[in-house]
C-alpha cells in the first residue's frame, strides 16, 4: 500500500501551503512514537489524568433482558472530560508541544473534542482556539462555556452550513494562515495523512485494553465489537486490535437520522460515494456534481458527511460491517440504557447500543459482545427531552 493510503483511500489533498507542515508532523510523529520519554509521558497522562484503563463493564441486566450473548460496555464515558476524545488530545497536544508549538486549534461538532482539546491545552500550557459551527454553538451552549472556562477562545463559524464540516473548513483555513507556532488537533480519523493514522494510534488504546480485559474475563475473544461512526475515531479505536482476529465481527453504527430513504441522514456508508474532501479520498454524502451534501443526525457528533479513510477501506474489503441506526432507535436505546443499567450515555454511543439490542438476541449465550460507550450523555439530556416534547431550561 502507498504511504498514507488504506487501499485507494486516504492521501493528502490539501493546499500546498500545508504540505511541508504535514511532512514535518509525520516526521515528528514517527520519531516520538518510538521515543521512550514521549511514550512514558503519554502513558502517565493516560493513567494519571484521563483515568485509564477504562472499565470493561459486564452489563448483566441488559444481557438478561436481551437473552443472547453477554454484553460488555467499554466505558470511555468514564474518562476525564467524559468521552474517548481525550485519548487523542493527550497524544496530539503532547506531540505538538514536543514539536515546539505554543498554540493548538481544533474543530468541534457537539463540543466534546473542543472540550478535550481545551482541557489538555490548559494542562500543558498551550494557547487554544476552537472553531464550532454557529448552529452547534447554539445547540451546545454549555460546551461553549465549558471551553471558555478552560481558557480557550471559541469561534462560532458562520460560513457554509454552519455545522461540523464548516468548522473543519474554517480550522483548515486558520491553520493554512498560521503554521509556525500552531498545531491543528484534528478530532477524528480523517483529514490528510498522517492524521488518520495518528488519531487511530492514539485511540487504539481502547481495543488494546478491551482485548486484554475480555480475554481475562471470558477466556475468549468476543463475537462482535460495536461502535458508533461519524468520522470514526472511537470505532477505529474499538476495532483496531481486533482487525487481525478474523472471528470477531467489527460493526460500525452510522447515523441514519430520519431514515436512509429520506434526505435527512448522515449515513455515509449506506448512501455515500467515493470522493475527495477535507484532505482525504474516502466516502462522502454528495450530489451528482460532487458538491458535499448537507447531512443530518440528532447527534451533533455524527453529523458529518464523510468517514475516515480506514473505515472506507474496512468497508470495501468487507472486514467491517456498517449499519444505519435512526434517531428514533438511538433515542430509545439512550432511554433503555439509562433505565436498564443506570448509565446515561452520549446519543452518539446510543447508536451502537441500539444496534446491539437487535444483534445480541441472535447470538449464543456463551459468546460475548463489546459495545464502545464512547461518551457520557449529560450534554444530550436537554436535546433528548426536546425530542420527546419536553422543554427544559438548559
Amino acid at each position: 500500500m502507498r504511504k498514507g493510503r488504506f487501499g485507494e483511500f486516504g492521501g493528502q489533498y490539501v493546499p500546498e501551503t500545508l504540505m511541508n507542515e504535514l511532512i514535518r508532523l509525520e516526521e515528528a510523529y514517527q520519531y516520538y512514537k518510538n521515543d521512550p520519554v514521549f511514550v512514558a509521558e503519554l502513558d502517565a497522562l493516560m493513567k494519571g489524568y484521563a483515568g485509564r484503563p477504562s472499565l470493561l463493564y459486564p452489563a448483566e441486566k441488559m444481557t438478561a433482558d436481551l437473552g443472547g450473548a453477554k454484553v460488555y460496555l467499554k466505558r470511555e464515558d468514564l474518562n476525564h472530560t467524559g468521552a474517548h476524545k481525550i485519548n487523542n488530545c493527550l497524544g496530539q497536544v503532547l506531540l505538538a508541544k514536543k514539536m515546539g508549538k505554543t498554540r493548538v486549534i481544533a474543530e468541534t461538532g457537539a463540543g466534546q473534542h473542543g472540550v478535550a482539546t481545551a482541557t489538555v491545552a490548559a494542562l500543558l500550557g498551550m494557547e487554544c482556539e476552537v472553531f464550532m459551527g454557529a448552529i452547534d454553538c447554539e445547540r451546545q451552549r454549555l460546551n461553549v462555556y465549558r471551553m471558555e472556562l478552560l481558557g480557550a477562545k471559541v469561534h462560532p463559524v458562520e460560513s457554509g452550513t454552519r455545522v461540523l464540516k464548516d468548522a473543519v473548513n474554517e480550522t483548515m483555513r486558520e491553520w493554512a494562515g498560521r503554521v509556525d507556532d500552531t498545531h491543528y488537533v484534528l478530532g477524528s480519523v480523517m483529514g490528510p495523512h498522517p492524521f488518520p493514522t495518528i488519531v487511530r494510534d492514539f485511540q487504539s488504546v481502547i481495543s488494546r485494553e478491551a482485548r486484554e480485559q475480555i480475554l481475562d474475563l471470558e477466556g475468549e475473544l468476543p463475537a462482535a465489537v460495536l461502535a458508533c461512526v461519524g468520522g470514526g475515531s472511537n470505532a477505529i479505536g474499538m476495532f483496531y486490535h481486533f482487525i487481525g482476529d478474523s472471528g470477531v465481527r467489527l460493526i460500525g453504527c452510522e447515523a441514519a437520522g430520519e431514515g436512509i430513504d429520506t434526505d435527512r441522514h448522515a449515513a455515509t456508508i449506506a448512501r455515500g460515494s467515493t470522493g475527495v474532501f477535507h484532505g482525504m479520498k474516502s466516502l462522502f454524502c454528495q450530489n451528482e456534481y460532487g458538491q458535499i451534501a448537507e447531512v443530518y443526525s440528532i447527534s451533533a457528533g455524527l453529523d458529518y458527511p464523510g468517514i475516515g479513510p480506514e473505515h472506507a477501506w474496512l468497508h470495501e474489503t468487507g472486514r467491517a460491517e456498517y449499519v444505519p441506526v435512526t434517531d428514533e432507535e438511538a433515542v430509545e436505546a439512550f432511554e433503555y440504557l439509562a433505565r436498564t443499567e443506570g448509565i446515561i450515555c452520549a446519543i452518539e454511543s446510543a447508536h451502537a447500543v441500539a444496534y446491539a439490542r437487535k444483534l445480541v438476541p441472535t447470538l449464543p449465550k456463551d459468546r460475548s459482545v463489546i459495545i464502545c460507550l464512547s461518551g457520557r450523555g449529560d450534554k444530550d439530556v436537554a436535546a433528548i427531552a426536546r425530542y420527546r416534547g419536553i422543554n427544559l431550561h438548559d
Partner: protein
C-alpha cells in the same frame, strides 16, 4: 470554435494580468458577459472558478460567491456549456480553477474531454498538491490540458521539485492563509521567484491578496503575471448583474499597472 490561443501566448506580450471570476455568480449569462468585458479591458488569461460547496482555500469573499453560484443552479455541465458559447466570441486562453471533488466526481476522462472540446487550456486545483498530481495529470495531458501547480510561502525545499515539473504557468501564492484582499504582502517573494527561475522557464504569476494597482505594479516587478480574484468577485457581490462597467474599469486599471515600466 475559433482556434484557442495558448497559455504561453498570454505571457508573450509583456507582463500579464490574470483575473479570476466565479462561474455562475450571480448567473452564468452574467459570467459570460463579464469574461468578454475583462478580455476587452486587457486581461491576458482568465481563471474561471468552478464553485464548490466547501472551498477550503478561499476567504469569505469567494466562499460567498460559490454559495451564490450554486444557489443560482450552476453545475459543471452548465459551466462547460457557457464556455462553449463563449468560444463563439473569443479565442483567449481560459483555465478553470476548482476543487478536486467536482472534477473527480465528474470523471477525469469525461471532464478533460469536455475541457478539450470547449477550449480550456489548464486547471488549477488548490487541493491537489504535487504528491497527488498523479490523480489526473496524465488524463489532462492526453487532452492537452495543463495541470497548473501552486507554490506557497512555506514551499521552501519543495520549489525545485514543483517547478521542475510545472506546466502552463506557476501560481505563486503570495501569503499564508486563504484568498482575499490584504493591505500588505510580507512574503519574501523575490527569493521564491529566484528559486523558481533556477528550476524552470515556465512563467510565474503571483496571486492571493492583491487588490490595488500599486500592489499589482509591485508584484509585476517580480513575476510574469499578477492574478486577482477577490477584488473582482467583490465588485460582483456589490453590483450583481450590473457589475460589468465596474469590472471593466478595474481590469483596465490593473492591466495598466502591471504594464507600467
Amino acid at each position: 470554435m475559433k482556434k484557442v490561443r495558448t497559455i504561453r501566448d498570454a505571457f508573450d506580450h509583456g507582463k500579464a494580468f490574470i483575473p479570476f471570476i466565479t462561474a455562475g455568480d450571480p448567473d452564468l449569462e452574467s459570467t459570460r458577459r463579464f469574461i468578454l468585458a475583462m478580455e476587452e479591458a486587457g486581461a491576458d488569461l482568465i481563471e474561471i472558478g468552478i464553485p464548490f460547496s466547501d472551498p477550503i482555500a478561499e476567504g469569505i469573499v469567494i466562499q460567498e460567491a460559490d454559495i451564490r453560484a450554486l444557489a443560482s443552479g450552476t453545475t459543471t455541465d452548465r459551466i462547460f456549456d457557457m464556455v462553449a458559447d463563449l468560444r463563439r466570441d473569443t479565442d483567449m486562453p481560459l483555465v478553470f480553477m476548482g476543487y478536486l471533488n467536482p472534477v473527480f466526481y465528474y470523471g477525469y476522462e469525461r471532464f478533460f474531454t469536455r475541457c478539450e472540446e470547449v477550449g480550456i487550456s489548464g486547471v488549477i486545483i488548490p487541493d491537489l498538491p504535487f504528491e497527488e498530481k498523479g490523480e489526473c495529470a496524465e488524463t489532462a495531458a492526453a487532452h492537452g490540458v495543463d495541470v497548473i501547480s501552486m507554490i506557497a510561502p512555506t514551499s521552501e525545499d519543495r520549489i525545485r521539485m514543483i517547478a521542475g515539473e510545472a506546466k502552463g504557468f506557476l501560481y505563486v501564492v503570495s501569503s499564508m492563509g486563504v484568498t482575499g484582499v490584504r493591505s500588505e504582502i510580507r512574503t519574501d517573494l523575490a527569493s521564491i521567484i529566484a528559486a523558481i527561475r533556477q528550476a524552470t522557464e515556465v512563467p510565474a504569476g503571483i496571486g492571493f491578496g492583491i487588490n490595488t494597482p500599486q500592489q499589482a505594479a509591485e508584484m509585476a516587478q517580480l513575476a510574469d503575471a499578477v492574478i486577482v480574484g477577490s477584488a473582482i468577485v467583490r465588485l460582483i457581490a456589490e453590483h450583481g448583474r450590473e457589475a460589468e462597467p465596474f469590472i471593466r474599469d478595474y481590469v483596465q486599471s490593473m492591466k495598466k499597472a502591471v504594464s507600467r515600466r
